[in-house]
């Protein structure tokens, strides 16, 4: 009679459960959507970036910024305090609001701004790809398409709030959507022209050896960068929720947790766009090349962290602009995006085609 040790059994059960959890975590759709670069990473990054934004602006402005909440951590816990306060504050739903879109839009906007992260590769290892191989060949296309979804819900928010400032804000947002999307997508697609592939993996692999596409084709990078600024209402294009003109734009009527979600959405969108820019222009996970049949750590965690680190730098750069710039007027922003940024994007695309022909 075979004697089964209780310890062996326990060990087996524990290891099965452990590896099961690990497998679940590293299951590409979960990992990318929820962990890195998805929700969890995005939250951590957003909290750090908002903190950085406030501290960096404060440095330029001869002061300290958030501090007293945790003087030893230079006020890093500030955003947690804000988050807790938001989460437990009363949620007011105005009687005149259109309740269903009013309540659901913030969450849809949040989820949809995360979606592009679920379809991009963050590692060249095949099993880590969140889509099937055939779909992966068009990952640039799919990601670009998904970035355009969330603004619709921001417009819906403004409409559902039934507030004059919200209406003006959502009107501005809808103007801006049309203005930046084309430039952003053309800017990112210029790399497609260079590499002759819609696959992010090929694009990143192309950028090996310091041959970053951002260096080869800086015009397209600039166009994509500015388009990202416009799309995420960062300075100097903080127009749809310009505080001094239209209070908080589409978010004027939101309170408590729902405003917290809204505030996060813009930053999460900026995060998603930054990750796309990193993959397309800044070498993705390069210079690190994982071995072809690498495991969870070497094949998935490390490259995704490298991508995230690069994206954080891009975001920090975007955040620093708050300290230097004011905001444009809506017509000037449209003027800039159609006349200059679009032209830049087209020029970048042309350059991309030329380079694709030459290289």
């Amino acid at each position: 009679m075979a004697y089964i040790s209780i310890w062996t059994l326990t060990r087996d059960v524990i290891s099965t459960v452990f590896w099961g959890i690990v497998k679940l975590i590293f299951w590409p759709p979960i990992y990318q959507f929820v962990i890195i670069p998805g929700l969890v990473a995005a939250l951590v990054v957003v909290i750090s970036i908002i903190w950085f934004e406030r501290k960096a602006a404060a440095r330029v402005q001869m002061r300290y910024g958030p501090l007293e909440v945790s003087p030893k951590l230079a006020g890093y816990l500030q955003l947690f305090a804000d988050l807790i306060r938001y989460s437990f504050q009363e949620i007011i739903i105005p009687r005149t609001a259109d309740i269903i879109p009013f309540i659901t839009s913030p969450f849809f906007a949040l989820l949809l701004s995360l979606l592009p992260l679920a379809v991009i590769p963050v590692s060249p290892v095949k099993w880590t790809w969140p889509l099937t191989l055939s779909a992966m060949r068009y990952s640039v296309l799919i990601a670009a398409a998904l970035t355009t979804l969330s603004p619709i819900f921001i417009v819906a928010m403004g409409w559902a709030s039934n507030n004059r400032f919200s209406t003006i804000g959502s009107m501005r947002e809808s103007f801006l959507i049309t203005a930046y999307e084309l430039s952003a997508i053309i800017g990112i697609f210029s790399v497609v022209a260079t590499v002759h592939s819609f696959d992010f993996t090929n694009i990143v692999n192309f950028q090996g050896g310091g041959k970053w596409l951002g260096l080869i084709n800086p015009i397209a990078l600039l166009a994509a960068f500015i388009a990202t600024l416009i799309s995420t209402s960062a300075f100097p294009f903080e127009i749809s929720d310009a505080e001094n003109e239209i209070v908080a734009g589409p978010f004027t009527e939101y309170s408590g947790l729902m405003y917290g979600v809204n505030m996060g959405t813009a930053y999460i969108k900026r995060w998603a766009m930054s990750v796309l820019i990193v993959l397309a222009f800044l070498g993705g996970w390069r210079p690190y090349i994982p071995p072809p049949n690498a495991g969870y750590i070497a094949g998935y965690l490390v490259p995704s962290l490298i991508v995230s680190a690069k994206a954080v730098v891009v975001m920090a750069l975007m955040s620093f602009l708050r300290a230097v710039y004011g905001r444009y007027r809506i017509d000037q922003a449209l003027h800039i995006s159609w006349k200059y940024v679009f032209a830049l994007a087209i020029a970048g695309f042309g350059l991309g085609i030329l380079e694709g022909y030459l290289l």
């Binding site: 402005q61 400032f165 100097p236 001094n244 004011g326 007027r329």
Partner: protein
């Protein structure tokens, strides 16, 4: 004829019958007729782009077709209250209309009463008044820049403006004993003498501010984003500025040469060598630049004042009428602390019968007082017209034709301060 006070024959707002300046509209703008679907937006009073006032705008799409400023959210009835108070009590009262520009706001009142009393402040008191006036003027302009920065979303300008303003506030505090509400000029002189190292500190502050003005230019005025927001926005022609009766930097940005310091020099302003900048464009950018140039000139005046203060050290700062016959304790206190003790007669000061009109150039423009005395210890009538009040009419005529987003840019460029306007 019987007149019904609330009669319905009160005429209603009718824009079409209006003419400003040479043309019906401000240059470059056309006011469209309001369609059926008018969209009224109430900006304020709880609104970041309005301060403590309300502007009711009617928009056609994104373009404002009509603006109706609704003042009075800080109307504290100073004119009425001063009719019931002793002359000296009115000084802190009227100071509250512009506490960031306190000396300039009270000086014309003091001057008007001095005119009625027939006395003039001693030389050193005049220099001290000019010093505080110019310190206040710079502080007020920096405050204006700070608020302007907020309106354009440029938080760094706000912080820099307020940070550098602290230097001037600190100077004023060392001189007068209060950060903002100095209550400094008083009939016949000033209340405190300058402390020991005041002129040294003043010179240091001047050097620092000169350096910082260059930073402001790089960061704010020459910043392409800000320029884009300001250039050609809110243009007021020379003729329109005159007709609307604007004052101060807003007037001089439209090319009108008017400054009370030059037209009717008060205190010691005729002893100083300075320029008054005038810009021709009349847009928001010119209004911002006028202030920068004015700060430069104020620094120039302050340098000269510092020299004069050094020269007149130890001189009397109160008119003989209130200082010749004081008890020895008063002089002892003055020598020890530099504090002028007031005669008890100040509390019940009777001013000879008569009418006086005084004007000075405050930070935001000309401020005028009309005082009528009937020989008692309280004035019969005090009429105050503050610069912001006279500028308020701009909202009605300069904003229509612009976009909603231009409202903060124009508002900020006027440097409008509601408590001052509402009195």
């Amino acid at each position: 004829m019987i007149i019904d006070m609330q009669s319905s024959e009160v005429p209603r707002l009718n824009m079409s019958s209006w003419e400003i300046g040479e043309s019906r509209y401000l240059p470059g703008m056309e006011i469209k007729k309001l369609g059926k679907e008018k969209f009224v937006v109430y900006i304020g009073p709880q609104h970041p782009g309005s301060g403590h006032m309300r502007i009711i705008i009617k928009v056609d799409g994104d373009v404002i077709v009509e603006a109706d400023p609704d003042l009075g959210y800080v109307h504290r009835t100073m004119e009425k209250l001063s009719e019931g108070r002793a002359y000296i009590k009115i000084i802190p009262l009227v100071e509250r209309m512009a506490i960031l520009d306190a000396c300039n706001a009270t000086l014309p009142y003091v001057e008007a009463v001095e005119k009625l009393l027939g006395l003039e402040a001693p030389e050193r008191a005049k220099y001290l008044r000019v010093a505080l006036c110019e310190i206040n003027r710079i502080a007020s302009h920096l405050y204006g820049f700070g608020i302007f920065g907020v309106f354009l979303g440029h938080s760094t300008m706000y912080m820099w403006g307020f940070g550098d303003r602290e230097i001037l506030v600190e100077l004023a505090e060392k001189l007068t004993g209060a950060r903002l509400t100095h209550t400094y000029p008083i009939f016949g002189g000033v209340r405190r003498d300058a402390p020991q190292n005041f002129t040294d500190n003043l010179r240091k502050a001047i050097r620092y501010l000169r350096k910082r003005l260059e930073d402001y230019r790089r960061m704010f005025l020459d910043n392409p984003v800000i320029r884009k927001r300001l250039e050609g926005v809110g243009i007021v022609s020379k003729r329109a500025a005159t007709d609307l009766g604007l004052v101060g930097p807003n007037l001089r940005a439209s090319g009108v040469e008017y400054d009370v310091r030059a037209v009717e020099p008060y205190e010691a302003y005729d002893e100083f060598d300075f320029e008054i900048p005038v810009f021709e464009e009349g847009d928001s950018l010119a209004r911002a630049w006028v202030r920068v140039e004015e700060i430069k000139q104020s620094l120039r005046i302050l340098e000269q004042v510092a020299d004069k203060l050094d020269k007149t050290k130890g001189q009397q700062i109160m008119h003989d009428r209130f200082w010749a016959k004081v008890p020895p304790l008063y002089k002892k206190v003055f020598e020890a602390e530099g504090r002028v003790k007031l005669m008890p007669l100040f509390a019940i000061l009777r001013v000879p019968k008569g009418r006086a009109f005084a004007r000075t150039e405050a930070g935001r423009g000309e401020i005028t007082y009309y005082i009528e005395s009937d020989g008692k210890d309280k004035p019969y009538r005090v009429r105050i017209v503050s610069p912001s009040y006279r500028n308020a009419i701009m909202f009605k005529y300069a904003i229509p034709g612009h976009r909603v987003a231009d409202l903060p840019a124009i508002y900020g460029s006027f440097d409008y301060f509601p408590p001052e306007a509402d009195r």
